[in-house]
Amino acid sequence: MTRLRSAASRAARPSGALRAVIAVAASLAVAGCAAGRIAQSTPASSGQSFVQGDYSSAYFSPGSRPKAPAVVGRTLGGGRLSLAADRGNVVVLNFWGSWCAPCRREAPALAALAAHFKSAPVRFVGDDVHDSSTAAVAFERTYSVGYPSLNDPGEQVALAFHGTVPPVAIPTTLLIDSSGHIAGRVVGEISYRGLLSLIDKVLARPR
């Protein structure tokens, strides 16, 4: 049978070799994805009950900022909040949960930043996901959070950002410039300095 194949492959040698190359290339491409592990964004031990992201910080220059959705919702205190109403201010939108350990650790830094920018055209807004309002209010009291948070147990605000720059983990912090476009995103726990410089950058280049 091997001899027969040689007869045939001799007759069809160029295409035979070409087929071989394609086959090997295809198999290597598949090996690249199949042989490795499927990337997981949670640690192997289940029970984390949330998707944790690796830290990353992104800034979008004015020409490439997608428009933020017009989010309207109820705050934990019961009032109504609309992001669009903040036109003219830079909005720092932080997705958090009272059960989320990194959110608890970054809470003092966020509160301090909010105080720092109190007289600047910067508004801090929280979005409390996958949480109960009782526990969330208790969190706000513990960390003396001075800015309002949207009550978003069904992650609808996160869903509204689909197609633009969505939050990909808890915590995620989005920066929306004064014209209502998304100017930056920090995935993971923020640092005081890091978020400070990012906010300054967005303030400097508002639109």
């Binding site: 049978m1 199949a34 944790q52 959705p69 350990a101 526990a135």
Partner: protein, 612 residues
């Protein structure tokens, strides 16, 4: 050289002439393929291989000229031929089967991580060693991938050229008839009064009626049928390649997610909303379909009597969902074998349990916690469930509680157990802790486990709580009330764009398989020439007709009978026409319509007697 070939071909027990094989190499090669050494095709193998100069020398070491060396290209070509040979495919199939065995016997990380942890605990020395060999992730391991990739390369390298050959030769006529039909594995001969041309025409007509593709030449007729066999064979193997591509598609662009949803809650299909998110290599957060699901109600019915008491009878989850932010809501009744399909994503009901509702008041008197807490079943017969309550914002101390929920609580000699999975007598039994939960440090924790290393156990009477009852914590630390319970469901969200292509490939493979098993390739050859003289040497006016038959592989047997039938029919057809012809006025009917005339018949018996 031709004499050599003829001798060798004859020596192999089959008989295709050397030169002819070279000319008909294409035709024979088209069906020889990777089938080896089955009578004629094996010999044709050898012959056409010998006709191919260089490989005839290199193969099997038959008559390799001394001092010839293979260059790099030669070695590559040899390696490629070895890889795409049947023997290699055989070995690789076996290897793949053997390689899958540890994946089924050892616990696998991707399927049951808890079992892996247990294995580590049970075999502390062996487990790390196995882990380094990818024993707990066999199907994602590089060596498993190497085996199936080699197998598919071998498959592709064998099948794709044959597919192109088939496409080219699909319309081609059958090969020319061999000279000595007697060398074919099936052969028969008879004599007739019909002229050779007419005899051949008659035979050809019969073969056409039997749906053979017929080709005529000078003094011979060649017929072939069963082309669908090769088509089916190649369809099967190519479909397997398609299956591999589909699996790769799913691995690259698909994703899986899990979400535990308590009655009344909603979630959105975003990384923020999923408990577990396993994307394919090329999946980003933006490529998730933006649907939301609310669990309105979950109900479970259990068998209440008989031997199967306590076994689940039926589950149903009533959902409301929409497929985009702000879109219209629809209802769906989700059941175990009845998934929800939204925008190509499938949502499955894979688990359920109880979520007791707790209200915790801290030392300051304010309510710091008031929500259902999902408890996870630890056994199936009574659905005893374990869980943890964490109140990180309680003052002055953070509070933590760990315990069990018993749907139908009974006391078995001092131990608490649940007798039935429905909540007929729900009770909760908790141990209370105060101190530092560890959540403020930023390290993520499992919501189902409590780290008590920095907490102090509180002295509270251990009685189980009924709905409405409370535990009052000592030292004014607060109070926990068990206010009721809700149900939760566990949903699996999967998106696999390769799913439909995989199904199509699998079905195509099955069709190809059945086709190749049902259809057999057959070749029939007929030669007719004036007999010249009969056995005794006297001059004869008759025509000698020889019929030969060839099949690609006769492993299942049965071709001999089929050939005998066909040959007999040809004989009857030809002789029938001869008889019709000879019924002309003035023509005397010869002994044509009798049984075999002495020319062939006696010699058969003579031949048979000689062989005995």
């Amino acid at each position: 050289m031709t004499q050599d070939l003829a001798g060798r071909a004859a020596g192999d027990g089959a008989a295709v002439d050397g030169d002819r094989a070279a000319v008909t190499g294409e035709g024979v090669a088209a069906d020889g393929g990777s089938v080896a050494a089955d009578g004629v095709s094996g010999a044709a193998d050898g012959v056409s291989g010998a006709a191919d100069g260089s490989s005839g020398a290199a193969d099997g070491g038959r008559s390799r000229p001394a001092g010839s060396r293979l260059g790099v290209l030669g070695w590559l070509r040899w390696g490629w031929r070895q890889l795409t040979s049947m023997r290699t495919a055989l070995v690789l199939l076996f290897l793949l089967a053997l390689a899958s065995i540890p994946g089924s016997v050892l616990p696998q990380q991707g399927i049951d991580p808890a079992a892996v942890t247990q294995y580590y605990a049970a075999h502390p020395a062996l487990a790390p060693f196995l882990a380094r060999l990818s024993g707990f992730d066999v199907f994602g391991s590089p060596w498993f991938a190497a085996i199936y990739l080699l197998l598919f390369t071998s498959l592709a390298g064998c099948v794709l050229p044959r597919t192109f050959r088939l496409a080219r030769s699909a319309g081609q006529p059958p090969p020319a008839a061999p000279r000595y039909l007697g060398r074919l594995p099936q052969a028969a001969g008879f004599a007739t009064t019909l002229a050779p041309d007419q005899a051949l025409e008659s035979a050809a007509a019969l073969l056409r009626r039997r749906r053979f593709r017929v080709r005529k030449g000078a003094g011979w007729v060649s017929a072939e049928k069963g082309y669908l066999h090769e088509t089916g064979n190649l369809l099967f193997h190519v479909a397997l390649l398609g299956l591999l591509v589909s699996v790769a598609l799913g691995g690259l662009f698909g994703y899986k997610g899990n979400r535990l949803l308590v009655e009344g809650d909603t979630f959105a299909n975003t990384p923020v909303g999923l408990d577990v998110f396993r994307p394919g290599r090329l999946v980003t957060a933006g490529s998730l379909q933006p649907f939301s699901i609310t669990l309105k109600k979950f109900s479970a019915r259990y068998i209440t009597s008989g031997d199967q008491r306590g076994q689940p009878a039926k589950f149903a989850a009533w959902l409301r969902y929409n497929s985009r932010y702000g879109g219209p809501m629809r209802s769906y009744d989700l059941q175990v074998n009845h998934p929800l399909n939204v925008d190509g994503v499938q949502v499955f009901l894979i688990g359920h349990g109880y979520a007791p509702v707790f209200k915790v008041t801290d030392g300051t008197g304010a309510v710091r916690f008031d929500q259902p807490v999902p408890f996870i079943p630890v056994e199936q017969s009574g659905l005893t469930s374990a869980g943890v309550v964490k109140v990180p914002d309680a003052h002055p101390r953070q509070l933590g509680f760990a315990g069990v929920f018993l749907p139908t609580e009974i006391d078995v000699g001092g131990r608490l157990a649940s007798a039935f999975p429905a909540a007929e007598y729900p009770r909760v039994s908790l141990v209370s802790y105060a101190g530092n939960l560890g959540v403020n440090s930023g390290q993520p924790q499992s919501v189902y486990s409590l780290d008590t290393s920095h907490m102090r156990r509180l002295a509270v009477s251990p009685r189980p709580l009924a709905p409405g009852q409370s535990i009052t914590l000592p030292n004014g630390l607060g109070k926990l009330t068990f206010t009721g319970y809700r149900r939760w469901v566990s949903l699996a969200i999967t998106y696999d764009p390769g799913q439909l292509p995989a199904l199509v490939s699998a079905v195509a493979a099955l069709c190809g398989l059945i086709l190749s098993f049902l259809v057999r390739r057959r070749r029939m050859f007929v030669r007719a020439a004036p007999a010249g003289s009969d056995r005794d040497g006297a001059a004869s006016e008759m025509t000698a007709v020889a019929v030969g038959g060839l099949t690609r592989s006769d492993a299942a047997g049965g071709f001999a009978a089929e050939f005998a039938e066909l040959a007999t029919e040809i004989m009857r057809e030809v002789r029938g026409e001869a008889a019709a012809d000879s019924h002309q006025p003035g023509g005397a009917s010869t002994g044509d319509s009798h049984e075999a005339p002495p020319l062939a018949g006696d010699l058969t018996q003579a031949a048979g007697a000689k062989g005995e």
